[in-house]
């Protein structure tokens, strides 16, 4: 019995080592080629407005040229309350401004990117961020914007605007960003 | 029997002959005995099993099943059909002679019938007369008998009355005697009883005195015993509790030791409490549970000692039965 057991262990470990000889790789580089994504976050829609200053590094000039100008229209980030996807009263006019612009420029397209703060489950937050994007989308549609002009995406908690685990950071991360994309 | 001068050979031969004879007799008897008890075969069919020893033995071997005298040997069945009726013969074909024959036959038959009738009438008359005579005779006899019976009864009654009278007198006398005897006896009895009563009372008093002594003694003894037992059971319970607590602290209980587990361990300890032997007995847990229990027994060493040294027990039977 013991002998059989030892033989069995031996056999299995041999088989295992035959595989693990391939599986257990030195740290990086060997084995599966690490796939590097080539599309590095082209932040064509960096929110240029002062309301989310930490994001203003990329392509703001490019985006600033697109989309509405003016006090309302230049605001590209809509903020939300915790666990909520309703557009707050202070942002209704902002959304309206974008809606008017898009309705008047049917060739222009936007991407609405929804986000949440870091609290809670990641995939649930993806869906929550999407809900926020959808709220803004529906508001735009109501103003005559065509469906084909709007794309939505949600990053959930994956791309915070502000690092940190305090209420200030959280409030800055619960947002929808509007990117004009052509 | 043997004349003295006879040699040993003769005696040997005789004894051998005697033994042979005895052996032969034994064999015969055995054989006989054996033959008297043939195996009774249990047949598959419904039949009464008869004790074979009651039957006349067939000369052949005993493999023939015994035949019972009660049940008939298989016979052919009795045919149901009736024997055929005798045939009627055919008459000759001659009409004139036949007519004459018929007329003569008729006349003869008439005469015969008339004669028959007369005979019957005569018979009936005779029968009537006979009957009447018999009746009269019977009546006479009966009257006579009745008279005689009556006389006998009266005589009997008289006799009985007399006897009864006599008996009554005798009875009275008897009763009188008995009453006297009884009274005498009762008197004697009463006196006897009185004596006995006195004796008993005396005895009872003595008895009581003794019993009182004994009871007191017993009570004292019982009290001592109770006290001892209470002490022991109290101390015993305490000893058990101490051991239990020690083992519980020493048992690192694995997660799969859940309620429903029941494992026995026999622990052997030497005076001083050191555990020298651990044997896991009936246990419905897996190997890791057994390990943990065996370890607990060892880790609990040395076991606590009882307050009363007489309670120390080398052999402990510990049962692990987690409750939560």
């Amino acid at each position: 019995m013991r002998k059989t057991l030892t033989l069995l262990v031996l056999a299995s470990v041999l088989a295992l080592s035959a595989c693990s000889g391939k599986k257990v790789k030195p740290v990086t580089g060997a084995g599966g080629e690490p796939v590097t994504s080539t599309q590095s976050g082209a932040q064509t829609g960096g929110a240029g407005g002062g309301t989310s200053g930490t994001r203003g590094t990329e392509g703001s000039t490019a985006n600033g040229a697109l989309g509405p100008t003016g006090e309302l229209g230049s605001q590209r980030v809509i903020y939300f309350d915790f666990d909520n996807s309703d557009i707050r009263p202070e942002f209704i006019d902002v959304v309206a401004a974008h809606g008017r612009f898009l309705a008047n420029n049917p060739a222009v397209r936007v991407r609405l990117e929804g986000h949440t703060d870091e609290r809670g489950s990641r995939e649930y937050n993806i869906a929550l961020g999407e809900r926020r994007s959808q709220t803004v989308r529906r508001a735009l549609l109501l103003q005559g914007v065509k469906e084909s002009q709007i794309a939505t995406v949600s990053y959930g908690e994956e791309r915070p605007a502000v690092a940190g685990s305090d209420e200030l950071a959280y409030s800055k991360n619960r947002r929808v960003e509007i990117f004009y994309i052509n | 029997m043997n004349p003295r001068g006879a040699g040993p050979g003769v005696s040997v031969a005789l004894s051998v002959a005697l033994h042979a004879l005895l052996a032969g007799l034994f064999a015969l008897g055995f054989w006989q005995f054996h033959r008297k008890e043939p195996p009774v075969q249990q047949l598959a069919i419904e039949a009464t099993v008869v004790d074979g020893s009651r039957l006349p033995m067939p000369a052949a071997s005993s493999s023939v099943p015994p035949i019972s005298n009660d049940s008939p040997v298989s016979e052919p069945p009795v045919p149901d059909t009736q024997p055929p009726l005798p045939e009627v013969s055919e008459p000759v074909d001659d009409s004139a002679a036949r007519d004459q024959l018929a007329r003569e036959q008729a006349a003869r038959q008439l005469a015969e019938r008339q004669q028959q009738l007369q005979d019957e009438q005569a018979q009936q008359a005779k029968a009537a007369r006979d009957a009447k005579a018999a009746k009269e005779a019977k009546a006479l006899r009966e009257a006579k008998a009745a008279k005689e019976a009556k006389a006998a009864r009266e005589a009997q009654l008289a006799k009985e009355a007399k006897a009864a009278e006599e008996a009554r007198l005798a009875k009275q006398a008897q009763e009188l005697r008995e009453r006297q005897a009884r009274e005498a006896r009762e008197k004697q009895q009463r006196e006897q009883q009185a004596r006995e009563q006195q004796a008993r009372e005396q005895q009872a008093r003595e008895q009581q005195a003794r019993a009182a002594n004994e009871a007191e003694l017993r009570a004292r003894m019982a009290a001592e015993e109770r006290q001892l037992a209470a002490q022991n059971s109290g101390l015993l319970a305490q000893y058990q509790a101490q051991i239990r607590s020690r083992i519980e602290r020493a048992w690192i209980r694995p997660p799969n030791a859940r309620p429903g587990l029941s494992c026995e361990v026999r622990i052997t300890q030497v005076p001083g409490g050191e555990v020298v032997g651990v044997r896991v007995g009936n246990c419905n847990g897996d190997e890791s549970v057994r390990q943990s229990i065996e370890a607990a027994a060892y880790r609990a060493s040395p076991l606590p000692l009882p307050a009363d040294p007489s309670l120390f027990d080398r052999n402990l039977l510990v049962t692990f039965k987690p409750q939560d």
Binding site: T6, L10, S12, V13, L16, S17, S20, G21, K22, V24, V27, T28, G31, G32, V35, S37, Q39, G41, R55, R119, G120, S121, R122, E123, Y124, A127, E130, R137, E147, T152, Y155, G156, E158, R159, V162, A163 | Q203, E214, L228, R244, I247, E248, W251, N256, A257, R266, D286, E287, Q291, S292, A296, Y298, S310, D313, N315, L316, V318, T319, P322, Q323
Partner: protein, 442 residues
């Protein structure tokens, strides 16, 4: 009989009775003393893992005994001995002075020797001895290629763990997780695989855009994940050994929360389409047939399979806030809510034996990992952090790996399934999250 005889008899019997009582009382002391034990303590088993005899240079300098001790201690079920307290370092059973080790309060001891059989084979011979009874519980040989010596050490730990706890060890398994470097908005994301103890890290995907929700197939050959490399979420599956990658779903809206069915033939997914309402679907990988599982205006996501492949557990906020539900894959009956008593319950995972649920709950002190019976019942909160998330069961069900925050840093930790012991995984890079425990290697 007459009176005196009666009296004598009575006297005699009384005396006999008393004697009997006394004797019986004394006699009781000679029967086995019975004791019932109804509870024990929850404590670690004390085990001394003595350094194994080396085999230089074949063992590459790896301290096998140290790996074994680290594994055993990390499980929370064992307490190892400090090497500096060891008076001797026996390598075979005959050299063990049991009394010394017992005096140091060890119940068990492991001794071992490495030897090189050939250029391609190293063997670890080891024994596990019960110091209390003197019994040798294990005497085994583990044979490995020199480059896989670490794996062999984990196998040794597995064998010891199983012998003493009755549960199969999971020390020779792997984990997957995501790491993030850099500050927003310039983060860099990586998908990594490692040994269960955090060693042997291997990057299998790098991106400037988020990667999330890695999931292993039951045979350990594939990992599914979500990647935002195309400015939108998409689900990929990647073959672990070769890096071969296949796009599974890049539909409009959400593509997320992939989960392999136990038979590896299907993938549960969260899709939303352009209306943006998250629902659960099942994709047949061979036929590409998509079956819709939930259909309602609420958020339904984070599906995970029951071990028999017949049911899906998921998060849904159809009751107002996120709660755990279960539904049959075949359909035909309504989903059943399983979590109660908390305002927020999400991210369910099922134990390998199918009886326990691990989930994230929120209470007044934050987000914690909790467990409950699949059939329902009281929630057992297992962790005490405020931002704990992403629980995943070890294949032996004994531990749960999860993501936590420690002093502001995102780390990985493990908690025993009964919540007794928590340990932090060694961290060699900045922010780590989204851990998933791989299956047994065989």
């Amino acid at each position: 009989m007459d009176l005196t005889m009666l009296q004598t008899l009575r006297k005699f019997s009384t005396r006999m009775l008393s004697a009997l009582v006394l004797w019986a009382g004394a006699g009781a002391a000679y029967a086995d003393l019975s004791i019932d034990i109804t509870k024990g303590v929850t404590d670690a088993l004390s085990i001394a893992v003595v350094p194994f005899a080396r085999s230089v240079p074949a063992d590459g300098g790896l301290d096998v005994a140290a790996v074994v001790q680290h594994d055993l201690e990390g499980s929370g079920r064992f307490r190892g001995m400090d090497r500096k307290d060891m008076l001797s370092t026996p390598v075979r059973v005959a050299d063990i002075q049991a009394a010394d080790w017992r005096a140091a309060r060890n119940d068990y001891i492991v001794v071992g020797r490495l030897s090189s059989i050939s250029n391609t084979e190293l063997v670890i011979d080891f024994e596990l001895v019960n110091l209390l009874s003197g019994q040798t519980l294990l005497q085994q040989r583990v044979s490995v290629a020199p480059s896989a010596l670490r794996h062999g050490a984990h196998r040794v730990a597995d064998l010891i763990y199983q012998r003493l706890t009755g549960t199969r060890g999971a020390f020779a398994t792997r984990i997957g997780y995501v790491s993030v470097d850099g500050a927003p908005p310039a983060q860099r994301y990586q998908l990594l695989l490692a040994d269960a103890d955090g060693e042997n890290i291997r990057v299998i995907l790098e991106s400037a855009r988020p990667i999330m929700s890695p999931a292993w197939s039951s045979d350990g050959e594939w990992v599914a994940y979500v990647s935002f490399e195309n400015h939108a979420s998409a689900v990929y599956v990647q073959r672990v050994r070769t890096g071969e990658r296949r796009l599974v779903s890049a539909r409009a809206g959400i593509n997320g929360a992939p989960a392999f069915s136990p038979d590896g033939r299907r993938l549960a997914l969260t899709l939303s389409g352009s209306t943006g309402n998250a629902d659960i679907y099942v994709l047949d990988l061979a036929t590409q047939l998509l079956t819709r599982i939930t259909e309602d205006p609420a958020i339904d996501t984070e599906a995970t399979w029951s071990p028999d492949g017949k049911q899906l557990y998921f998060t849904s906020d159809r009751a107002g806030g996120p709660q755990i539900y279960r539904v049959g894959v075949q359909g035909g009956e309504a989903a059943r809510r399983l979590s109660f008593g908390v305002p927020y319950a999400a991210r369910p995972r099922v134990s390998p034996d199918g009886t326990q649920l691990a989930l994230v709950v929120r209470d007044s002190s934050g987000y914690h990992i909790a467990a409950q019976d699949v059939a329902g019942g009281a929630l057992r909160v297992l962790t005490r952090g405020s931002l704990d998330e992403s629980p995943s069961f070890a294949p032996n069900g004994a531990q749960i790996i999860y993501a936590a925050r420690e002093r502001g840093q995102a780390i990985l930790a493990m908690v025993s399934a009964d919540g007794q012991v928590t340990q932090r995984l060694k961290a060699d890079r900045g922010e780590v999250r989204d851990p998933v425990w791989g299956p047994y290697a065989d």
